[in-house]
């Protein structure tokens, strides 16, 4: 089966002149339709850098990223922008909701950017907010919502245009563990019910344990990989901890 997204020997080196930082060092990665992949690693291991490359937000220094067989580096800025609008949903650690727009409007604007028809723009935002359990808070502004609620709005926004790929960068990084767990549960549920492909990066092994497949990243390189399908969380965590060693 053809992967949704694939990297080939991809490198990201920052600050080419003077002291350069090798954030991503020749990573090969392929994510299949319907997979929930977690990339886990300590701070500074290059997780975000890799995710930005997957999300068509940054250019690799070397190597290439293919989205559904299409090389991103051959696309124009406008094409990459449209790809982000239609095919990729992004969930940020800092939520990044538009502060002057209500929860509903935050979802609606993504539909607008995706060029959705008027009827859909009217109906879908509330459906999505109900899906993430925020129907009654639809008219609230981000500042009137808790962190967990904001991240749920962000998930609704990321799903607005039925993207083929959902990317999440430390989605629970700013949440307490209980809120984080229920959010991950939601992501897991969306992944299962809709066969929504998810790639999540995190430094938290507990968070990573919700995934089907976990990659361990260290110093810009993939150092290990495990599948968690059908295993219970304790065993999974044990495996992962072993990987880290």
């Amino acid at each position: 089966m053809e992967p949704i997204i694939e990297t080939k020997e991809v490198w990201k080196v920052y600050g080419m002149n003077g002291a350069s930082v090798e954030a991503v060092c020749g990573i090969d990665l392929a994510v299949q339709q319907g997979e929930f992949v977690a990339i886990v690693g300590p701070s500074g291991s290059g997780k975000s850098s890799l995710l930005h490359l997957l999300g068509a937000m940054d250019h690799p220094t070397r190597g290439e990223v293919l989205f559904g067989n299409q090389p991103l580096h051959k696309m124009s800025d406008a094409q990459r922008t449209d790809l982000r609008a239609h095919q990729i949903g992004f969930i940020f650690q800092t939520f990044n909701l538009l502060p002057n727009l209500s929860a509903l409007e935050n979802v609606e604007i993504a539909l607008r950017l995706g060029g959705a028809a008027k009827a859909e723009r009217q109906a879908r935002p509330l459906e999505l907010l109900e899906r993430v359990g925020l129907g009654p808070r639809a008219r609230h502004l981000p500042r009137q919502l808790s962190g967990g609620e904001r991240q749920r709005v962000a998930i609704a926004r990321a799903l607005a245009n039925r993207p083929r790929l959902l990317l999440a960068d430390e989605p629970t990084g700013n949440l307490d563990s209980k809120t984080g767990a229920s959010l991950l549960e939601l992501l897991r549920q969306i992944n299962r019910q809709d066969r929504q492909t998810v790639v999540m990066v995190t430094h938290d092994f507990r968070a990573a344990s919700h995934a089907d497949r976990v990659l361990v990243l260290r110093d810009g390189r993939i150092r290990g990989e495990t599948r968690l399908q059908g295993q219970d969380t304790h065993r999974a965590l044990g495996q992962l901890l072993a990987l880290e060693l």
Binding site: M57, D77, T81, D82, A85, T94, L98, L113
Partner: protein
């Protein structure tokens, strides 16, 4: 479009937006006022010129190129005898022609506002030479007695004794150069030259300004319009050193002056519009700086650059257009209470034009901030510290 986002950001910073709109309004109302004045000045001059149609002004050639448009005849002087010889030339409507003596009278309404009053000495019975059809609102336009005076609208107010609310009216007395005159009539509202004139008998003027047997010029009315050229030729042949200026020549000189006036007012209005562009640019640049993270987020979730451009340009345009709307009441208030001006129909014409200007200012002011905004990287959304 993302215009709702643009509005919401402006609304979020209400005070700043309101102050910017007010600033733009104050700037654009000067635009309104300058253009309004320019227009009414041009109208005034044109009315004055049309009152002079069919006439020839004979004056001393002072070598001044703008002499032909100098209605107050500064510096021109000729002997009264010469004037009478000119008035005796064939083809002249003597009744409607007269020798005139003009003398500006400095008079201050307030210490800082100089107001020139023009004293005009005219031969009794030939008042029409100067008045050219303008009538008295009250009283008559006949300088029957040696101390009779006809007053222009503004002068009637200026000369009224201190502490007196009412302007001078027919029958009132006033002092001029130590002599007492009696008002026989007050003119209807006319071009400013007339509004500022005190018209008295020629002899009284010669006495008051100690210029016996001297006049400033001769206003000659041709019996037939076709005779104008012939009269001009006769004057220039027979009286060297004198200029005989027709209404057409005056109009040409006036046009030259109006070009300067237009250039000056255009310079002023463009400068003022430039200031508005800079102010709005600064405000929108600051707004873009505040919105960097939002703009980055929008780019990250798929907003194309032109949408960002539109959002930022929308903010600049809204500020400018609302400023232009607000400029109308401000400009009207300024004219009404500051300048006692009531010709608001003019204001509306210029206001409509102002909206176009404001749009232009908005577009120019949008360019730099919008350019900065479209360069915001989607990764900007992910930076946090």
């Amino acid at each position: 479009m993302l215009w709702d986002l643009a509005f919401k950001h402006l609304w979020q910073r209400r005070l700043r937006s309101a102050l910017t709109i007010l600033g733009v309004a104050i700037i654009l109302q000067t635009h309104l006022v300058i253009n309004g004045f320019k227009y009414s000045y041009e109208q005034d001059v044109q009315r004055q010129l049309s009152a002079f149609t069919g006439k020839v002004l004979v004056r001393q050639d002072t070598g001044d190129t703008l002499g032909a448009a100098d209605f107050s005849l500064t510096g021109s002087s000729l002997e009264e005898e010469t004037a009478q010889d000119i008035l005796a030339l064939p083809g002249i409507d003597r009744q409607a022609s007269s020798a005139v003596l003009m003398a500006p009278l400095a008079r201050s309404l307030a210490p800082t506002i100089p107001v020139a009053i023009l004293v005009v000495g005219i031969e009794p019975g030939h008042e029409a030479a100067y008045l050219s059809g303008f009538q008295a609102d009250e009283g008559s336009t006949n300088l029957e007695a040696p101390t009779s005076a006809i007053l222009g609208r503004s002068v009637a107010e200026l000369l009224s004794p201190e502490g007196e609310e009412q302007p001078l009216a027919a029958g009132d007395n006033f002092e001029l150069q130590g002599q007492t005159f009696q008002v026989v009539g007050v003119l209807e509202t006319a071009p400013s030259l007339y509004n500022n004139s005190v018209i008295i008998p020629l002899e009284a003027a010669q006495e008051a300004f100690e210029r016996p047997d001297t006049v400033s010029a001769v206003i000659v009315c041709a019996g037939q319009v076709e005779d104008v050229a012939q009269i001009q030729a006769a004057v220039e042949m027979g009286f060297p050193g004198l200029l005989a200026i027709s209404a057409q020549q005056m109009a040409a000189s006036v046009d030259a002056i109006l070009v300067d006036v237009r250039n000056f007012s255009n310079l002023l209005t463009t400068t003022v519009a430039g200031v508005a562009v800079v102010i709005v640019t600064i405000v929108v640049i600051v707004a873009v700086m505040e919105q960097r993270k939002e703009i980055g987020t929008l780019r990250a979730i798929g907003a194309r650059r032109w949408r960002i451009f539109g959002m930022v340009a929308g903010q600049a345009l809204v500020l400018c257009l609302l400023g232009a709307v607000l400029a109308l009441p401000i400009g009207m208030a300024f004219l009404k209470w500051g300048m006692q001006w009531e010709k608001f129909d003019l204001i509306f014409i210029y206001w409509a034009r102002n909206l176009v200007w404001a749009g232009l200012v908005g577009i120019l002011a949008a360019l730099l901030p919008a350019w900065q905004a479209v360069r915001v990287d989607p990764l900007e959304a992910l930076r946090y510290e």
